[in-house]
Amino acid sequence: MDQALSMVTSYLGFLFILLCLGLILFFCFSDSAREKIKLRAIQAFSRYRREVDLAVEAGKRLHISLGRGTINELQGGSAFIGLTILDRCARAASNSDRPPIATSGDGTVMVLSQDTLQSTYRSLAAEQRYDPTNARFTGLTPIAFAAGAMPAIHDEHVSANILAGHFGTEVALLTEAGERSQSLTVAGSDSIPAQAVLYATAEEPLLGEELYAAGAYLGGGLAHTASLRMQDILRWVLVAAIIIGAILKLLGILA
């Protein structure tokens, strides 16, 4: 009985992934003809875009922190969003005197951030701008990671910090460093304690799935807007499932 239940759950999970994939591909094809897809305004991304322009004009730097999640675990998902943001920042600030810097607390994510910077500059035919020390590993433990990233915010003429990845409550040290250096902090995380801290400490917090919409808002391409539409549809499906489940439980039909 248990084995049959586990098999059904596996098949359902696989079908769910196939459904997500199907929806992304469907929206990729159906939206390819559309000129522009309207997204609801998220203040954090509007301010981020403005700050990027100002940073380029003022000769200041952008700092992107990718957190300390490792890609071998579930927390890696949010670090990938950080890498997308890093790519967009490097493109937007390609004319700036000071290229963006990325900090992380995991070796693999550090290597990936170096790769992202290198491939972005290569695609812009500006490979000479690539400096491997602009993608930094700052520490292994949560506090060491935050302590290592703080000097980058304080000392390197940073005008905006984008914190996108897996953090814990130590993220408050980074937002406080941003506050003290009078730079904008846009921050989001997959962790609930970090989101609570960011709500209180960050100038522009990104809550829940807002972080995962970053690619679509920063011009990441069709796949990003398609996946955003997929998330919107499935969110409504989940809302309906939760409400139906609650009603069935209330009526005593569900045990």
């Binding site: 994939l21 071998n72 998902g77 995991d106 790769d115 491939s119 060491a144 040290l173 799935e209």
Partner: protein, 207 residues
Amino acid sequence: MKRILPITNTVIAVISGVFVILGYFFPGSFGGIQSVLIGWAIILAAFALLLGIFNLAWVHWKKVSSEGKGHVYSIVLLISMLIMIVVAGISGPTSALTLWIFNNFQVPVEAALLALLAVILVYAGVRLLSRRPKWNSILFLVTVLLVLLGAVPLYFLGTIGPLNAVHDWLTQVPAVAGARGLLLGVALGTVATGLRILIGSDRPYGG
């Protein structure tokens, strides 16, 4: 070569990703290859950690050699790193001397920063009211205050029954409901991110 390498990277990443995800749903058929791939990933992650440490040393070496702002701290970091590598290399990572250094230097420094974190969070709570003077900020702060007051016995007053009941209700009902809502959003976002990498749309590996 510059063209072939990104394509090869993408093909390897997509095929590996497909096998790993299939291994989760059908462990009988794909569990073996999934374990092998995850094993390789763990070995690569360990090597990446070494690269990370090398990167850390390199960044601070550059700072010292250019006499950048705060280069004295970089000297301290490099000397500490060297001492720790020598000590742990000779006597082992769990030897008495290595643990003594860890417990008497690393632990107190991290504890001090954690204490600082508590002050920062209190200050941020107050600052929130001036930065975003909206009803949801007030609700956030009132909830924090109620949960804190209900979580511990108060000086002179001891535990207060109604506050404890409010604390239990807040942490077990609205907090759990809100957290689950946020986690569902995060889960959908993570699935979407993973699928974009699987279809080769996002290529954070130099593709």
